[in-house]
Amino acid sequence: MEYTILILVLPLLSFLFLGLAGTRLRPAAAGAVGTAVLAVVTAVSYMTAYAYFFGQGRAADGLYPTLTPWNTTWLPINDTLSIDMGIMLDPISVMMLVVISTVSLMVHIYSFGYMKGERGFQRYYAFLSLFTASMMGLVVATNIFQMYVFWELVGVSSYLLIGFYYTRKEAVAASKKAFIVTRFADLGFLIGILFYGYYAGTFSFNPQTEALAAAGMIIPLALGLMFVGGAGKSAMFPLHIWLPDAMEGPTPVSALIHAATMVVAGVYLVARMFPLFIGYAPDVLHATAIVGAFTSFYAAVVACVQSDIKRVLAFSTISQIGFMIVALGVCTSADPHSGGLGYMASMFHLFTHAMFKALLFLGAGCIIHAVHSNEMSAMGGLRRYMPVTHATFLVACLAIAGIWPLSGFFSKDEILTACFAYSPVMGWVMTAIAGLTAFYMFRLYYGIFWGRENRTLHAEHTPHEAPATMTLPLVVLAAVTLGAGFIPFGHFVSSNGTAYDIHINPTVAAISLCAATAGIALATWMYARERQAAAESLARRFATLHTAAYHRFYIDEIYQFITHRVIFRCISTPVAWFDRNVVDGFMNMLARGANGASYLIRGMQSGIIQHYCIWFLGGALVLTIILLFIR
């Protein structure tokens, strides 16, 4: 399958072409180039997936083989260790190829309409190509270091795209924040990789077991550090703060990067290292489940009170990624029939979530496009003006809430089953969060399409349905969301590679459906109508909680305090002062000392020749005396 190299090379070439020659092209031409390249990439990805799953099928041992059609040494480290670049195909990377290329293509098409007339249209498409290339490189990585390389590249493309409107202060601040927070997490990732490389003797994903066994406690440490990197990218608490701010970027970018693909890189990383986690660090894996569950809960609570629709979606993304991490974390063995179900559930949810979350964001983009605001207060009652957006948005909301037969139901059900199998506490907690999810998603839905309409604003500027380039991707994604639940996912991806059928556990399904329905019902009661007395009185009753949640429990402020007060004021400024005054002051003091000594000596050189003469004669006299008497 050598042609898979095209998946990496084509978007990269497209980036270079658009980056270098973009300004000389007409915007539409640049967009067409980017989209055409991406269409080819998508075709190749589908071809790869087809050939991988159906063309060659399973090997003799009943597993899908791991193929590496390309692998080349990029940077040798020493005689045994080297950083390779290549392409590795296995079930999850092929699945990711499909997800990324699909969402990316949709976003490319959608952006034609959404970004029309924007300054820097060509640059936008160049960055999208760069992002696609690096994300593809990340998922097909043959080794952990290649993953890290592309990990950084997706980070920078995210930085560039969040800061796309670089004249806006908020966008610049958000892009900086996103980069630095993830960079900080990547430090953990890097150190984890370095430990791993040293003790495992390789960067590849399947090291010698003896080496790992000999390393003892270091491997759990390394894996834990790697998870820190993953937590940064995947916005796990407390490294989540960059994601809500990242919504400053153009909405299609949020859909692509900050909902469907890049933010699940952390989940992908854990899935990629899954055999090692299970084999050598099950405790670390379970700890990630705790982190995931807490993040999921925290984000769900915050999402309930946000008024900016993109922020609601951002927190919902954080919460859903928490679900995926939990699903991985509750795995206790690699056997899907006893404790390994979560792996498949997580990947399945990753897949379905990518589709419906991209759909939600793109829908939100249409709405923002129509009302020119992100605030829910500018919306309400939009169902009359934007039927297509409304229908597709509803599909996505039902999917994320987990209503049968939409895709979200199936994947969430698997996750909950895995959680219940791990411990009832985890199961109930996650069920509650699922109910909360349904609640805040429908709060959002009613707030936008029903509820209290902002008539004055709409009278001034009547909202209108988005153009076809924007609605087409919505329809496609909605169709996928409707159908994706019926994919026999367990046949393609499972924790140890063997195929198995997904069973719907009737008890769990009933519980989760009840929770979802309850959430939706509550939201309907509170937000569907013009008057929202219940919601307002609740907000008044729990004013402190409401304000705290609205301000995201002040986590950002704490960070602000740490970075500005502690790092800048208490470290950098004193260091700079120390440098200028102590270190440099010492050097200057040496110079001044030398100078002072010269001034002292200079006094002897009075310039009056008689003085010199006396010195001379005195010297001559002394010498004479010495010569005459002392010897």
Partner: protein, 102 residues
């Protein structure tokens, strides 16, 4: 016959008178004159030593003639400098010459 010591006493007196003058005088011309005194005392010594110790040689006499020639030239140069200084600062006191210090 006058003994050599008398010549030497004269030249020593001249020598120290010159040094005294050179150290104490603040006027450039006076200093120049003092330098001439020192030179001449040395010239006397050359001649006297040559005459009394090595009568068959002439180096001392030649050297003295040479030194006289040199001192004449040196005086000419020195006076030229002094005149230039005078033109510049209207003064030939050593103390006024700070320009060339350091």
């Amino acid at each position: 016959m006058i003994h050599m010591e008398y010549y030497l006493i004269v030249s020593t007196i001249m020598m120290f008178a010159g040094i005294y003058g050179f150290v104490t005088r603040r006027n450039l011309l006076a200093m120049l004159i003092s330098v001439e005194l020192i030179l001449n005392s040395v010239d006397i010594n050359f001649v006297v030593f040559n005459r009394f110790l090595f009568p068959e040689h002439l180096e001392g006499f030649f050297f003295t003639l040479f030194a006289i020639g040199i001192s004449a030239a040196e005086t000419a140069v020195a006076i030229a400098i002094i005149i230039n200084i005078y033109r510049n600062i209207r003064n030939i006191k050593v103390k006024s010459l700070h320009e060339m210090k350091w």
